[in-house]
Amino acid sequence: MIEVDHLTKKYGDLVAVKDLTFEVAKGKIWGLLGPNAAGKTTTMRILTGYLPATDGRAKVAGFDVFEQANEVKKVIGYLPEVLPLYSEMTVAAYLNFVAELKQVPASKKKAAVDRAIKVAGLEPVEKRLIKNISRGFKQRVGIAQALIHDPQVLILDEPTIGLDPAQIVEIRSLIKSLKGEHTIILSTHILAEVTQVCDGVVIINEGRLMASGSLEELSSTFQSKDGLVLKLKRVDEAYQELRRLPGIDKVSRRNGELVVEWSPGKDLREEVARFVLEKGLGLVEMRSLAMSLEELYLRIVSGGTPQ
């Protein structure tokens, strides 16, 4: 649905995006992840037709972003980082204006506005001036305007920024509910958001692609060891015993738990479990040693080499 092919954007001498290539399949939510000034916003602006690229191509819903800009603009809903709101308008008047701007046919305009208001939960503030509503509602108005023409593709630049925790949860579930019908790219630097909402990520740093793929793919690529995390009643005893088990490379303590690691390719989960039970080490909890997204992200952004 979204294809980015060797995209480069320079502002004078400054290279904001360099040779970026990734794809997003239809109906999926992908996170664009990276530190500040990584090129996330620039990439989104290019995809939405706001900025032209210096080099490379991009396609959205089969349309070339540069050659068929108008077609692309019709199928994209965009929530910019800075909310594009006219504070002197009421929420309903604003959404009406956006619907007209997005060329929603006059006969469907009312339905489109009503739907956007309903989906974004804007009923309580529908008739109020945008300048008088809270930040959370403003963010929802931003999302509602992106949704108004029922676009195939949604591009959301930091959709939960500046919201309180309850609002963040609401907006995330709103975004998740849009999955399937819409293909979504969202940028964020909140890692939890990606794990909760996204099917995959594109991690960029200094304008270059560092990694892309589904979360599982990424963790298997970047994880050097397999293992288990064990919570046991008799930790000290287990620490000594488990080291003797054949195939185990390393046993370490972490926050009162034991981390048992072995080389990838082997699967010692069953053996470890049987061993722990047989020795009566007081098993309380056992889970796989998956790399958290934080670890993954830091490893990719700080130490990784671009793809």
Partner: protein, 255 residues
């Protein structure tokens, strides 16, 4: 066409839902009313003096003695006021980030510029129509000629359109509304008085400087002379302003 109207409608609405249009129109009408009153009073006293001499009495002409100077006065008020109406048109969009909405919508840059231009022209039209109330009195109590008056209004409208196009151009250059207004005002004033320099110029330069001046073309129109040369001047001025605005927006995106 529909897109132009969408942008224009929104812009007209925002003029009239904020105090901007009302403040500008109120001040404009007070000033125009004041000038009209002064001119009529002066015309009255002159007419009484002239009535004592049949020869001079023939010369008393309300079109020339009231309307022609009134149109000049109005044109100066427009020169001062229109930059205030145009200053926010594009600079505010840029500052608020709403330009991202406009330029990522299936609407062309030209349609956005024309929409905003038309919205401002509409406010100008309302301002000029409201001054039409003054003529109700002159027609009720006197016998002015209609055609030169309409011609004068056409001149004001065309000149206002050129002013607005210049204002739109400066509004596209900066995010700061005050800067946009100051630059617009400076440029308009310069084009107003550029013919002053023609006194010391000669030959081709003299005619070029004279041709470029707003004043020169407007003066003819207030006298009731409708010359295609003047029409073409104002229309091409407006067109050039809009063209430059388009160029600025496009070049900013491609930078």
């Amino acid at each position: 066409m529909r897109n132009i109207w969408v942008v224009a409608k929104k812009e007209i609405r925002s003029y009239f839902t904020s105090p901007i249009a009302f403040a500008v129109m109120a001040v404009f009408l007070v000033l125009v009313g004041f000038f009209f009153f002064s001119l009529i009073s002066w015309f009255n006293s002159m007419a009484i003096q002239m009535a004592q001499n049949p020869y001079y009495y023939q010369q008393a002409n309300i079109n020339q003695m009231v309307y022609s100077p009134l149109f000049h006065n109005i044109s100066i008020i427009l020169l001062l006021m229109l930059p205030l109406l145009t200053m926010r048109l594009l600079s505010e969009e840029k500052k608020l980030g709403t330009d991202e909405l406009l330029f990522t919508s299936p609407v062309s840059v030209n349609e956005i510029i024309l929409g905003k231009f038309i919205a401002c022209l509409f406010v100008l039209l309302v301002m000029l129509l409201l001054t039409g109330l003054l003529s109700v009195f002159t027609f009720a109590y006197g016998n002015p000629e209609l055609v030169p008056i309409l011609n004068g209004y056409l001149g004001l409208f065309l000149m206002g359109g050129a002013f607005i196009a210049v204002g739109l151009f400066f509004s596209s250059l900066t995010e700061n509304q005050i800067v946009a207004a100051v630059l617009t005002f400076g440029a308009l004033l310069l084009f107003w008085i550029i013919n002053w320099a023609s006194a010391s110029a000669s030959g081709l330069w003299q005619s070029v400087l004279n041709y470029l001046s707003f004043f020169q073309h407007f003066d003819d129109m207030t006298r009731g002379i409708l010359d295609t040369k003047d029409l073409i001047y104002y229309l091409s001025f407006a067109f050039f302003g809009l063209f430059l605005t388009h160029a600025v927006i496009q070049s900013r995106r491609w930078r």
